[in-house]
Amino acid sequence: MAPIERVSSPGARVRRKLARHPAALLGGAVVLLFVAVAIAAPLLAPFDPVKSNWLAVRRPPSAAFWLGTDELGRDILSRLLWGARASLLAGLVSVAIAVGVGVPLGVLAGYVGGWLDALVGRLTDALLACPFLILAIALAAFLGPSLGNAMIAIGVSATPIFIRLARGQTLQVVAEDHVLGARAIGCPHRRILLVYVLPAITAPILVQATLAIAGAIIAEASLSFLGLGQQPPAPSWGSMLNTARSFMTQAPWMAISPGLAIAVVVLAFNLLGDGLRDALDPREP
Protein backbone atom coordinates (compact mmCIF):
# COMPACT_ATOMS: atom_id res chain seq x y z
CA MET A 1 0.00 0.00 0.00
CA ALA A 2 1.34 3.43 -0.90
CA PRO A 3 2.29 5.60 2.08
CA ILE A 4 -0.25 8.27 2.97
CA GLU A 5 1.07 11.69 2.09
CA ARG A 6 0.89 14.12 4.97
CA VAL A 7 -1.10 17.20 3.97
CA SER A 8 0.13 20.30 5.74
CA SER A 9 -2.09 23.26 6.67
CA PRO A 10 -1.86 26.44 4.51
CA GLY A 11 -0.27 28.28 7.46
CA ALA A 12 2.43 25.63 7.88
CA ARG A 13 3.07 25.68 4.11
CA VAL A 14 3.55 29.46 4.15
CA ARG A 15 5.88 29.23 7.18
CA ARG A 16 7.90 26.47 5.46
CA LYS A 17 8.21 28.45 2.21
CA LEU A 18 9.06 31.64 4.09
CA ALA A 19 11.82 29.79 5.96
CA ARG A 20 13.46 29.14 2.58
CA HIS A 21 13.84 32.92 2.06
CA PRO A 22 16.56 34.13 4.44
CA ALA A 23 16.28 37.66 3.07
CA ALA A 24 12.55 37.73 3.85
CA LEU A 25 13.21 36.40 7.36
CA LEU A 26 15.84 39.09 7.87
CA GLY A 27 13.36 41.69 6.60
CA GLY A 28 10.72 40.35 9.00
CA ALA A 29 13.17 40.49 11.92
CA VAL A 30 14.08 44.12 11.13
CA VAL A 31 10.38 45.01 10.84
CA LEU A 32 9.72 43.44 14.27
CA LEU A 33 12.67 45.33 15.74
CA PHE A 34 11.37 48.58 14.20
CA VAL A 35 7.90 48.00 15.70
CA ALA A 36 9.44 47.17 19.09
CA VAL A 37 11.61 50.32 18.99
CA ALA A 38 8.62 52.49 18.04
CA ILE A 39 6.55 51.08 20.92
CA ALA A 40 9.36 51.18 23.49
CA ALA A 41 10.77 54.59 22.42
CA PRO A 42 9.95 56.27 25.79
CA LEU A 43 11.91 53.54 27.60
CA LEU A 44 14.81 53.33 25.15
CA ALA A 45 15.48 57.02 24.44
CA PRO A 46 18.29 58.32 26.66
CA PHE A 47 17.13 61.97 26.46
CA ASP A 48 13.98 64.04 25.96
CA PRO A 49 13.55 64.21 22.14
CA VAL A 50 12.13 67.76 22.08
CA LYS A 51 13.91 69.55 24.92
CA SER A 52 16.66 71.91 23.74
CA ASN A 53 20.08 71.78 25.38
CA TRP A 54 22.01 74.96 24.56
CA LEU A 55 25.18 73.55 26.13
CA ALA A 56 25.32 70.69 23.64
CA VAL A 57 24.51 72.31 20.29
CA ARG A 58 25.69 70.39 17.18
CA ARG A 59 27.93 67.97 19.07
CA PRO A 60 29.48 65.17 16.96
CA PRO A 61 28.84 61.53 17.95
CA SER A 62 30.41 60.75 21.34
CA ALA A 63 30.00 58.42 24.34
CA ALA A 64 27.36 60.77 25.79
CA PHE A 65 25.50 61.35 22.50
CA TRP A 66 25.94 58.22 20.36
CA LEU A 67 24.65 59.83 17.16
CA GLY A 68 25.51 63.43 18.06
CA THR A 69 23.16 66.35 18.70
CA ASP A 70 21.23 68.72 16.43
CA GLU A 71 21.12 72.51 16.06
CA LEU A 72 19.13 72.84 19.30
CA GLY A 73 21.31 70.44 21.26
CA ARG A 74 18.74 67.62 21.14
CA ASP A 75 20.03 64.04 21.17
CA ILE A 76 19.73 62.60 17.64
CA LEU A 77 19.42 58.98 18.87
CA SER A 78 16.46 59.91 21.09
CA ARG A 79 14.78 61.77 18.23
CA LEU A 80 15.46 58.83 15.91
CA LEU A 81 13.83 56.37 18.34
CA TRP A 82 10.78 58.61 18.81
CA GLY A 83 10.69 59.33 15.07
CA ALA A 84 10.15 55.61 14.46
CA ARG A 85 6.67 56.13 15.94
CA ALA A 86 5.71 58.70 13.28
CA SER A 87 6.97 56.40 10.52
CA LEU A 88 5.23 53.30 11.90
CA LEU A 89 2.00 55.20 12.50
CA ALA A 90 2.08 56.73 9.01
CA GLY A 91 2.82 53.34 7.43
CA LEU A 92 0.05 51.52 9.26
CA VAL A 93 -2.68 54.17 9.25
CA SER A 94 -2.29 55.26 5.64
CA VAL A 95 -2.23 51.66 4.38
CA ALA A 96 -5.26 50.88 6.58
CA ILE A 97 -7.08 53.80 4.89
CA ALA A 98 -6.04 52.56 1.43
CA VAL A 99 -7.09 48.96 2.19
CA GLY A 100 -10.29 50.03 3.98
CA VAL A 101 -11.45 52.14 1.05
CA GLY A 102 -9.79 50.35 -1.88
CA VAL A 103 -10.62 46.71 -1.16
CA PRO A 104 -14.43 47.10 -0.70
CA LEU A 105 -14.60 49.35 -3.79
CA GLY A 106 -12.51 46.93 -5.89
CA VAL A 107 -14.44 43.87 -4.72
CA LEU A 108 -17.79 45.54 -5.44
CA ALA A 109 -16.62 46.72 -8.87
CA GLY A 110 -15.40 43.23 -9.78
CA TYR A 111 -18.45 41.45 -8.35
CA VAL A 112 -21.24 43.76 -9.56
CA GLY A 113 -19.61 44.74 -12.88
CA GLY A 114 -21.52 46.94 -15.36
CA TRP A 115 -21.67 50.71 -14.81
CA LEU A 116 -20.24 50.49 -11.29
CA ASP A 117 -17.17 48.69 -12.58
CA ALA A 118 -16.76 51.23 -15.39
CA LEU A 119 -17.12 54.18 -13.00
CA VAL A 120 -14.71 52.77 -10.41
CA GLY A 121 -12.30 51.84 -13.22
CA ARG A 122 -12.20 55.38 -14.60
CA LEU A 123 -11.90 56.85 -11.10
CA THR A 124 -8.96 54.53 -10.42
CA ASP A 125 -7.33 55.55 -13.71
CA ALA A 126 -7.77 59.23 -12.81
CA LEU A 127 -6.25 58.75 -9.35
CA LEU A 128 -3.38 56.69 -10.76
CA ALA A 129 -2.70 59.37 -13.37
CA CYS A 130 -1.81 61.89 -10.66
CA PRO A 131 1.75 61.13 -9.48
CA PHE A 132 1.60 59.66 -5.96
CA LEU A 133 3.67 62.30 -4.18
CA ILE A 134 2.28 65.27 -6.11
CA LEU A 135 -1.27 64.18 -5.21
CA ALA A 136 -0.22 63.65 -1.59
CA ILE A 137 1.43 67.11 -1.52
CA ALA A 138 -1.69 68.72 -2.98
CA LEU A 139 -3.99 66.95 -0.50
CA ALA A 140 -1.72 67.83 2.42
CA ALA A 141 -1.60 71.44 1.16
CA PHE A 142 -5.38 71.81 1.00
CA LEU A 143 -6.04 69.88 4.23
CA GLY A 144 -3.24 71.71 6.10
CA PRO A 145 0.18 70.39 7.16
CA SER A 146 0.08 67.81 9.99
CA LEU A 147 0.98 64.15 10.47
CA GLY A 148 -2.72 63.20 10.54
CA ASN A 149 -3.45 64.95 7.25
CA ALA A 150 -0.28 63.51 5.69
CA MET A 151 -1.53 60.02 6.59
CA ILE A 152 -4.92 60.77 4.99
CA ALA A 153 -3.17 62.15 1.89
CA ILE A 154 -0.88 59.11 1.58
CA GLY A 155 -3.81 56.75 2.22
CA VAL A 156 -5.94 58.35 -0.52
CA SER A 157 -3.00 58.34 -2.96
CA ALA A 158 -2.34 54.63 -2.28
CA THR A 159 -6.01 53.60 -2.61
CA PRO A 160 -6.21 53.05 -6.41
CA ILE A 161 -3.62 50.24 -6.32
CA PHE A 162 -5.80 48.31 -3.85
CA ILE A 163 -8.96 48.99 -5.89
CA ARG A 164 -7.29 47.59 -9.00
CA LEU A 165 -5.82 44.59 -7.20
CA ALA A 166 -9.05 43.69 -5.37
CA ARG A 167 -11.09 44.06 -8.56
CA GLY A 168 -8.77 41.84 -10.58
CA GLN A 169 -8.62 39.16 -7.89
CA THR A 170 -12.43 39.23 -7.45
CA LEU A 171 -12.96 38.77 -11.19
CA GLN A 172 -10.75 35.65 -11.03
CA VAL A 173 -12.48 34.20 -7.96
CA VAL A 174 -16.06 34.71 -9.16
CA ALA A 175 -15.25 32.84 -12.38
CA GLU A 176 -14.22 29.72 -10.44
CA ASP A 177 -16.52 26.69 -10.43
CA HIS A 178 -17.25 26.60 -6.71
CA VAL A 179 -18.38 30.24 -6.72
CA LEU A 180 -20.47 29.72 -9.85
CA GLY A 181 -22.01 26.69 -8.08
CA ALA A 182 -22.75 28.75 -4.96
CA ARG A 183 -24.45 31.38 -7.12
CA ALA A 184 -26.42 28.70 -8.99
CA ILE A 185 -27.93 27.29 -5.78
CA GLY A 186 -29.01 30.78 -4.73
CA CYS A 187 -26.36 31.60 -2.13
CA PRO A 188 -26.85 35.27 -1.08
CA HIS A 189 -24.37 37.79 -2.48
CA ARG A 190 -23.18 38.86 0.97
CA ARG A 191 -22.36 35.23 1.85
CA ILE A 192 -20.49 34.71 -1.45
CA LEU A 193 -18.45 37.86 -0.84
CA LEU A 194 -17.65 37.04 2.79
CA VAL A 195 -17.15 33.27 2.53
CA TYR A 196 -15.64 32.83 -0.96
CA VAL A 197 -14.27 36.10 -2.32
CA LEU A 198 -12.67 37.86 0.69
CA PRO A 199 -10.68 34.88 2.02
CA ALA A 200 -9.41 34.12 -1.50
CA ILE A 201 -8.11 37.64 -2.11
CA THR A 202 -6.54 38.14 1.34
CA ALA A 203 -3.08 36.79 0.42
CA PRO A 204 -2.35 39.17 -2.50
CA ILE A 205 -3.81 42.09 -0.52
CA LEU A 206 -1.51 41.23 2.40
CA VAL A 207 1.55 41.18 0.11
CA GLN A 208 0.56 44.50 -1.48
CA ALA A 209 -0.10 46.01 1.96
CA THR A 210 3.39 45.04 3.16
CA LEU A 211 4.96 46.69 0.09
CA ALA A 212 2.60 49.68 0.43
CA ILE A 213 3.79 50.25 4.03
CA ALA A 214 7.30 50.67 2.62
CA GLY A 215 5.97 53.23 0.12
CA ALA A 216 3.96 55.00 2.83
CA ILE A 217 7.01 55.31 5.11
CA ILE A 218 8.99 56.93 2.29
CA ALA A 219 6.00 59.15 1.44
CA GLU A 220 5.63 60.30 5.08
CA ALA A 221 9.36 61.01 5.26
CA SER A 222 9.11 62.93 1.95
CA LEU A 223 6.15 65.02 3.14
CA SER A 224 7.84 65.70 6.49
CA PHE A 225 11.04 66.58 4.60
CA LEU A 226 9.01 69.15 2.66
CA GLY A 227 7.43 70.42 5.90
CA LEU A 228 4.00 68.95 5.17
CA GLY A 229 4.02 66.02 7.61
CA GLN A 230 5.02 65.86 11.26
CA GLN A 231 5.39 69.43 12.55
CA PRO A 232 8.30 70.61 14.73
CA PRO A 233 9.33 70.09 17.46
CA ALA A 234 7.83 66.55 17.28
CA PRO A 235 10.48 64.22 15.80
CA SER A 236 10.14 62.51 12.43
CA TRP A 237 12.88 61.09 10.23
CA GLY A 238 11.86 63.25 7.26
CA SER A 239 11.78 66.52 9.21
CA MET A 240 15.15 65.64 10.81
CA LEU A 241 16.61 65.40 7.30
CA ASN A 242 15.01 68.69 6.34
CA THR A 243 16.73 70.43 9.27
CA ALA A 244 20.01 68.60 8.59
CA ARG A 245 20.09 70.08 5.07
CA SER A 246 20.82 73.53 6.50
CA PHE A 247 23.79 72.29 8.55
CA MET A 248 25.52 70.01 6.07
CA THR A 249 28.93 71.61 6.38
CA GLN A 250 28.84 72.22 10.17
CA ALA A 251 27.09 69.01 11.33
CA PRO A 252 27.04 66.29 8.63
CA TRP A 253 26.15 63.60 11.23
CA MET A 254 22.67 65.15 11.51
CA ALA A 255 21.85 63.88 7.99
CA ILE A 256 23.29 60.37 8.15
CA SER A 257 21.25 58.42 10.71
CA PRO A 258 17.67 59.49 9.82
CA GLY A 259 18.18 58.61 6.13
CA LEU A 260 19.85 55.34 7.00
CA ALA A 261 16.94 54.47 9.30
CA ILE A 262 14.40 55.14 6.52
CA ALA A 263 16.41 53.09 4.00
CA VAL A 264 16.83 50.11 6.38
CA VAL A 265 13.16 49.98 7.41
CA VAL A 266 11.89 50.40 3.83
CA LEU A 267 14.32 47.74 2.61
CA ALA A 268 13.08 45.41 5.37
CA PHE A 269 9.43 45.87 4.36
CA ASN A 270 10.35 45.34 0.69
CA LEU A 271 12.27 42.13 1.50
CA LEU A 272 9.40 40.86 3.66
CA GLY A 273 6.86 41.73 0.95
CA ASP A 274 8.88 39.95 -1.76
CA GLY A 275 9.25 36.87 0.48
CA LEU A 276 5.55 36.85 1.38
CA ARG A 277 4.65 37.09 -2.32
CA ASP A 278 6.61 33.90 -3.05
CA ALA A 279 5.41 32.13 0.12
CA LEU A 280 1.73 32.91 -0.48
CA ASP A 281 1.83 32.05 -4.20
CA PRO A 282 0.03 28.70 -4.54
CA ARG A 283 1.85 28.02 -7.86
CA GLU A 284 5.23 28.01 -6.08
CA PRO A 285 6.16 24.53 -4.79
Binding site: A126, A129, A138, L139, F225, L228, L241, A244, M248
Partner: protein, 313 residues
Protein backbone atom coordinates in the same frame (compact mmCIF):
# COMPACT_ATOMS: atom_id res chain seq x y z
CA UNK B 1 -4.42 50.06 -36.28
CA UNK B 2 -6.30 53.36 -36.39
CA UNK B 3 -9.21 51.68 -34.60
CA UNK B 4 -6.90 50.45 -31.83
CA UNK B 5 -5.47 53.95 -31.37
CA UNK B 6 -8.95 55.54 -31.44
CA UNK B 7 -10.13 53.00 -28.86
CA UNK B 8 -7.36 53.99 -26.49
CA UNK B 9 -8.12 57.68 -27.07
CA UNK B 10 -11.78 57.08 -26.18
CA UNK B 11 -10.74 55.51 -22.86
CA UNK B 12 -8.32 58.36 -22.13
CA UNK B 13 -10.90 61.16 -22.57
CA UNK B 14 -13.22 60.28 -19.64
CA UNK B 15 -10.15 59.68 -17.47
CA UNK B 16 -8.90 63.17 -18.32
CA UNK B 17 -12.30 64.60 -17.42
CA UNK B 18 -12.21 62.78 -14.08
CA UNK B 19 -8.73 64.16 -13.41
CA UNK B 20 -10.10 67.68 -13.93
CA UNK B 21 -12.96 66.87 -11.52
CA UNK B 22 -10.49 65.51 -8.98
CA UNK B 23 -8.26 68.58 -9.21
CA UNK B 24 -11.23 70.94 -8.96
CA UNK B 25 -12.51 69.01 -5.91
CA UNK B 26 -9.26 69.75 -4.07
CA UNK B 27 -10.50 73.26 -3.27
CA UNK B 28 -13.56 71.77 -1.56
CA UNK B 29 -11.16 70.36 1.05
CA UNK B 30 -10.21 73.86 2.23
CA UNK B 31 -11.47 74.22 5.80
CA UNK B 32 -14.08 76.97 6.30
CA UNK B 33 -14.90 79.63 3.73
CA UNK B 34 -12.75 79.14 0.59
CA UNK B 35 -12.91 82.90 -0.10
CA UNK B 36 -11.21 83.56 3.26
CA UNK B 37 -8.57 80.90 2.51
CA UNK B 38 -7.90 82.45 -0.90
CA UNK B 39 -7.76 85.94 0.62
CA UNK B 40 -4.82 84.94 2.85
CA UNK B 41 -3.91 87.85 5.16
CA UNK B 42 -6.55 90.10 3.60
CA UNK B 43 -9.50 90.65 5.96
CA UNK B 44 -11.29 93.54 4.21
CA UNK B 45 -14.90 92.40 3.57
CA UNK B 46 -14.97 94.20 0.21
CA UNK B 47 -11.79 92.46 -0.96
CA UNK B 48 -13.16 89.12 0.21
CA UNK B 49 -16.43 89.78 -1.65
CA UNK B 50 -14.39 90.58 -4.75
CA UNK B 51 -12.46 87.31 -4.43
CA UNK B 52 -15.76 85.45 -3.98
CA UNK B 53 -17.12 87.00 -7.17
CA UNK B 54 -13.87 86.61 -9.11
CA UNK B 55 -13.68 82.87 -8.32
CA UNK B 56 -17.47 82.41 -8.71
CA UNK B 57 -17.63 81.06 -5.15
CA UNK B 58 -21.15 82.46 -4.79
CA UNK B 59 -22.38 80.04 -7.48
CA UNK B 60 -23.37 76.36 -6.94
CA UNK B 61 -20.40 73.94 -6.98
CA UNK B 62 -21.33 72.18 -10.28
CA UNK B 63 -21.55 75.61 -11.97
CA UNK B 64 -18.17 76.56 -10.47
CA UNK B 65 -16.71 73.38 -11.96
CA UNK B 66 -18.15 74.07 -15.40
CA UNK B 67 -16.83 77.65 -15.38
CA UNK B 68 -13.40 76.37 -14.29
CA UNK B 69 -13.49 73.65 -16.98
CA UNK B 70 -14.45 76.16 -19.66
CA UNK B 71 -11.46 78.29 -18.64
CA UNK B 72 -9.27 75.21 -18.77
CA UNK B 73 -10.31 74.51 -22.36
CA UNK B 74 -9.15 78.02 -23.25
CA UNK B 75 -5.80 77.31 -21.56
CA UNK B 76 -6.70 79.37 -18.51
CA UNK B 77 -5.49 77.61 -15.35
CA UNK B 78 -6.27 80.61 -13.14
CA UNK B 79 -4.06 83.29 -11.64
CA UNK B 80 -1.37 82.89 -9.03
CA UNK B 81 -2.48 84.44 -5.73
CA UNK B 82 1.12 85.27 -4.88
CA UNK B 83 2.51 86.75 -8.09
CA UNK B 84 -0.65 87.66 -9.97
CA UNK B 85 0.73 85.89 -13.04
CA UNK B 86 -1.31 83.36 -15.04
CA UNK B 87 -0.68 79.84 -13.65
CA UNK B 88 -0.21 78.44 -17.17
CA UNK B 89 2.57 80.97 -17.78
CA UNK B 90 4.28 80.11 -14.48
CA UNK B 91 4.15 76.38 -15.21
CA UNK B 92 5.38 76.90 -18.79
CA UNK B 93 8.38 78.87 -17.47
CA UNK B 94 9.38 76.12 -15.00
CA UNK B 95 8.57 73.07 -17.09
CA UNK B 96 11.67 73.11 -19.36
CA UNK B 97 13.94 72.82 -16.31
CA UNK B 98 12.06 69.76 -15.03
CA UNK B 99 11.91 68.25 -18.53
CA UNK B 100 15.71 68.59 -18.79
CA UNK B 101 16.11 66.93 -15.37
CA UNK B 102 13.68 64.17 -16.40
CA UNK B 103 15.51 63.48 -19.69
CA UNK B 104 18.93 63.36 -18.01
CA UNK B 105 17.59 61.10 -15.24
CA UNK B 106 16.01 58.78 -17.79
CA UNK B 107 19.38 58.59 -19.60
CA UNK B 108 21.04 57.58 -16.32
CA UNK B 109 18.27 55.03 -15.64
CA UNK B 110 18.54 53.47 -19.11
CA UNK B 111 22.36 53.44 -19.09
CA UNK B 112 22.44 51.65 -15.73
CA UNK B 113 19.16 49.72 -15.52
CA UNK B 114 19.06 47.96 -18.89
CA UNK B 115 22.66 46.57 -18.97
CA UNK B 116 22.32 45.51 -15.31
CA UNK B 117 19.04 43.73 -16.09
CA UNK B 118 20.55 41.95 -19.10
CA UNK B 119 23.58 40.77 -17.10
CA UNK B 120 21.35 39.61 -14.21
CA UNK B 121 19.13 37.60 -16.59
CA UNK B 122 21.96 36.06 -18.62
CA UNK B 123 23.82 35.11 -15.43
CA UNK B 124 20.70 34.09 -13.48
CA UNK B 125 21.49 32.49 -10.14
CA UNK B 126 25.10 33.71 -10.05
CA UNK B 127 26.74 36.27 -7.76
CA UNK B 128 26.30 38.94 -10.48
CA UNK B 129 22.52 38.33 -10.49
CA UNK B 130 22.33 38.46 -6.70
CA UNK B 131 24.42 41.65 -6.60
CA UNK B 132 22.25 43.33 -9.26
CA UNK B 133 19.09 42.36 -7.34
CA UNK B 134 20.46 43.67 -4.04
CA UNK B 135 21.54 46.95 -5.65
CA UNK B 136 18.11 47.28 -7.29
CA UNK B 137 16.31 46.67 -4.01
CA UNK B 138 18.55 49.22 -2.31
CA UNK B 139 17.84 51.67 -5.15
CA UNK B 140 14.11 51.30 -4.56
CA UNK B 141 14.43 51.57 -0.77
CA UNK B 142 16.83 54.52 -0.39
CA UNK B 143 14.87 57.79 -0.37
CA UNK B 144 16.21 59.89 -3.24
CA UNK B 145 16.28 63.11 -1.17
CA UNK B 146 18.62 61.42 1.32
CA UNK B 147 20.80 60.10 -1.49
CA UNK B 148 20.96 63.69 -2.77
CA UNK B 149 22.03 65.01 0.64
CA UNK B 150 24.71 62.29 0.94
CA UNK B 151 26.05 63.05 -2.55
CA UNK B 152 26.21 66.76 -1.74
CA UNK B 153 28.12 65.94 1.47
CA UNK B 154 30.59 63.75 -0.37
CA UNK B 155 30.97 65.23 -3.87
CA UNK B 156 30.46 68.92 -3.12
CA UNK B 157 31.35 69.50 0.54
CA UNK B 158 34.19 67.00 0.95
CA UNK B 159 35.66 66.71 -2.55
CA UNK B 160 34.49 70.04 -4.00
CA UNK B 161 33.96 68.47 -7.43
CA UNK B 162 30.48 69.69 -8.33
CA UNK B 163 28.24 72.58 -7.20
CA UNK B 164 25.89 71.63 -4.36
CA UNK B 165 22.91 73.60 -5.67
CA UNK B 166 21.62 76.09 -8.21
CA UNK B 167 20.80 76.01 -11.87
CA UNK B 168 22.29 77.51 -15.03
CA UNK B 169 20.41 77.40 -18.31
CA UNK B 170 22.06 75.20 -21.00
CA UNK B 171 21.70 78.15 -23.42
CA UNK B 172 23.75 80.37 -21.10
CA UNK B 173 26.56 77.99 -20.17
CA UNK B 174 26.20 74.34 -21.30
CA UNK B 175 29.15 73.08 -19.22
CA UNK B 176 27.96 74.74 -16.02
CA UNK B 177 24.45 73.41 -16.75
CA UNK B 178 25.81 69.86 -16.96
CA UNK B 179 27.77 70.36 -13.76
CA UNK B 180 24.69 71.52 -11.85
CA UNK B 181 22.41 68.81 -13.31
CA UNK B 182 24.70 65.79 -13.03
CA UNK B 183 24.11 64.98 -9.36
CA UNK B 184 20.33 65.61 -9.46
CA UNK B 185 20.07 63.39 -12.57
CA UNK B 186 22.01 60.58 -10.85
CA UNK B 187 19.86 60.89 -7.72
CA UNK B 188 16.59 60.84 -9.64
CA UNK B 189 17.79 58.23 -12.15
CA UNK B 190 18.92 55.70 -9.53
CA UNK B 191 15.43 54.74 -8.32
CA UNK B 192 14.13 54.41 -11.89
CA UNK B 193 17.25 52.44 -12.90
CA UNK B 194 16.39 49.95 -10.13
CA UNK B 195 12.83 49.51 -11.43
CA UNK B 196 14.09 49.28 -15.01
CA UNK B 197 16.68 46.66 -14.04
CA UNK B 198 13.94 44.49 -12.51
CA UNK B 199 11.69 44.85 -15.60
CA UNK B 200 14.57 44.16 -18.00
CA UNK B 201 15.67 41.08 -16.04
CA UNK B 202 12.15 39.67 -15.99
CA UNK B 203 11.52 40.43 -19.72
CA UNK B 204 14.93 39.00 -20.70
CA UNK B 205 14.30 35.79 -18.73
CA UNK B 206 11.03 35.34 -20.64
CA UNK B 207 12.67 36.14 -23.99
CA UNK B 208 15.60 33.78 -23.37
CA UNK B 209 13.14 30.88 -22.94
CA UNK B 210 11.46 31.47 -26.32
CA UNK B 211 11.76 29.14 -29.30
CA UNK B 212 13.40 31.75 -31.56
CA UNK B 213 16.27 32.09 -29.08
CA UNK B 214 16.70 28.31 -28.97
CA UNK B 215 16.66 28.26 -32.79
CA UNK B 216 19.26 31.04 -32.98
CA UNK B 217 21.49 29.13 -30.55
CA UNK B 218 20.98 25.87 -32.46
CA UNK B 219 21.94 27.70 -35.66
CA UNK B 220 25.35 28.35 -34.08
CA UNK B 221 25.07 32.11 -33.55
CA UNK B 222 27.48 33.52 -30.96
CA UNK B 223 25.86 34.00 -27.51
CA UNK B 224 26.45 37.77 -27.66
CA UNK B 225 24.44 38.04 -30.88
CA UNK B 226 21.68 35.79 -29.47
CA UNK B 227 21.37 37.88 -26.33
CA UNK B 228 21.70 41.36 -27.81
CA UNK B 229 20.15 41.00 -31.25
CA UNK B 230 17.45 38.42 -30.63
CA UNK B 231 16.47 38.36 -26.95
CA UNK B 232 17.09 41.99 -25.94
CA UNK B 233 15.38 43.46 -28.99
CA UNK B 234 12.15 41.63 -28.07
CA UNK B 235 12.52 42.13 -24.34
CA UNK B 236 12.94 45.89 -24.74
CA UNK B 237 9.38 46.39 -25.99
CA UNK B 238 7.64 46.07 -22.59
CA UNK B 239 10.60 47.81 -20.92
CA UNK B 240 10.22 50.87 -23.17
CA UNK B 241 6.50 51.04 -22.41
CA UNK B 242 7.03 50.63 -18.68
CA UNK B 243 9.78 53.24 -18.87
CA UNK B 244 7.26 55.71 -20.30
CA UNK B 245 4.94 54.94 -17.41
CA UNK B 246 7.68 55.82 -14.92
CA UNK B 247 6.82 59.47 -15.63
CA UNK B 248 4.82 59.59 -12.40
CA UNK B 249 7.79 58.38 -10.35
CA UNK B 250 9.96 60.85 -12.22
CA UNK B 251 7.69 63.81 -11.42
CA UNK B 252 7.27 62.79 -7.77
CA UNK B 253 11.02 62.34 -7.47
CA UNK B 254 11.65 65.66 -9.22
CA UNK B 255 9.72 67.52 -6.50
CA UNK B 256 12.15 66.27 -3.85
CA UNK B 257 15.29 66.41 -6.00
CA UNK B 258 14.61 70.00 -7.04
CA UNK B 259 14.07 70.87 -3.37
CA UNK B 260 17.39 69.28 -2.31
CA UNK B 261 19.44 70.86 -5.11
CA UNK B 262 17.46 74.15 -5.21
CA UNK B 263 16.56 73.73 -8.88
CA UNK B 264 13.85 76.18 -10.00
CA UNK B 265 11.59 73.65 -11.73
CA UNK B 266 8.05 72.32 -11.68
CA UNK B 267 8.57 70.51 -8.34
CA UNK B 268 9.97 73.52 -6.53
CA UNK B 269 7.09 75.59 -7.91
CA UNK B 270 4.49 73.33 -6.26
CA UNK B 271 6.31 73.18 -2.91
CA UNK B 272 6.76 76.97 -2.83
CA UNK B 273 3.09 77.35 -3.78
CA UNK B 274 2.06 75.11 -0.87
CA UNK B 275 3.85 77.33 1.63
CA UNK B 276 2.50 80.58 0.19
CA UNK B 277 -1.00 78.99 0.06
CA UNK B 278 -1.07 79.65 -3.67
CA UNK B 279 -3.86 77.12 -4.29
CA UNK B 280 -4.43 77.80 -8.03
CA UNK B 281 -0.75 77.00 -8.67
CA UNK B 282 -0.99 73.75 -6.67
CA UNK B 283 -4.09 72.78 -8.66
CA UNK B 284 -2.42 73.72 -11.95
CA UNK B 285 0.64 71.58 -11.20
CA UNK B 286 -1.45 68.51 -10.20
CA UNK B 287 -3.59 68.95 -13.30
CA UNK B 288 -0.59 69.23 -15.64
CA UNK B 289 1.08 66.22 -14.01
CA UNK B 290 -2.10 64.13 -14.28
CA UNK B 291 -2.91 65.10 -17.88
CA UNK B 292 0.77 64.72 -18.83
CA UNK B 293 0.77 61.20 -17.39
CA UNK B 294 -2.38 60.25 -19.33
CA UNK B 295 -0.90 61.63 -22.56
CA UNK B 296 2.35 59.74 -21.98
CA UNK B 297 0.41 56.52 -21.28
CA UNK B 298 -1.52 57.10 -24.49
CA UNK B 299 1.73 57.65 -26.35
CA UNK B 300 3.12 54.44 -24.83
CA UNK B 301 0.01 52.53 -25.96
CA UNK B 302 0.32 53.94 -29.49
CA UNK B 303 4.05 53.13 -29.56
CA UNK B 304 3.25 49.60 -28.47
CA UNK B 305 0.72 49.23 -31.30
CA UNK B 306 3.24 50.64 -33.80
CA UNK B 307 6.11 48.45 -32.57
CA UNK B 308 4.23 45.18 -32.07
CA UNK B 309 2.76 43.93 -35.36
CA UNK B 310 0.46 41.49 -33.48
CA UNK B 311 -1.54 44.40 -32.02
CA UNK B 312 -2.18 46.13 -35.33
CA UNK B 313 -5.07 43.92 -36.41
Amino acid sequence: MLRAILGRLLVALPTMLLVTLLVFSLQLLLPGDPALALAGEERDPEAIAQIRAQHHLDRPIPVQYLIWLAGLLRGDLGTSLKTGLPVAELIASKLPVTIELAILSMLVAVAVGIPAGVVAAVRKGTAADAAANIVALAGISIPNFWLGIMLILLVSVRWGLLPASGYTSPFEDPLRNLQTMLMPAVVLGTGIAAVMMRHTRSAMLTALRQDYVRTARAGGLPERVVVLRHALRNALLPVVTLGTLELGTLLSGAVLTEQVFTIPGFGKLVVDAVFTRDYPVVQGVVLCAGLGFILMSLLADILYVLLDPRLRT
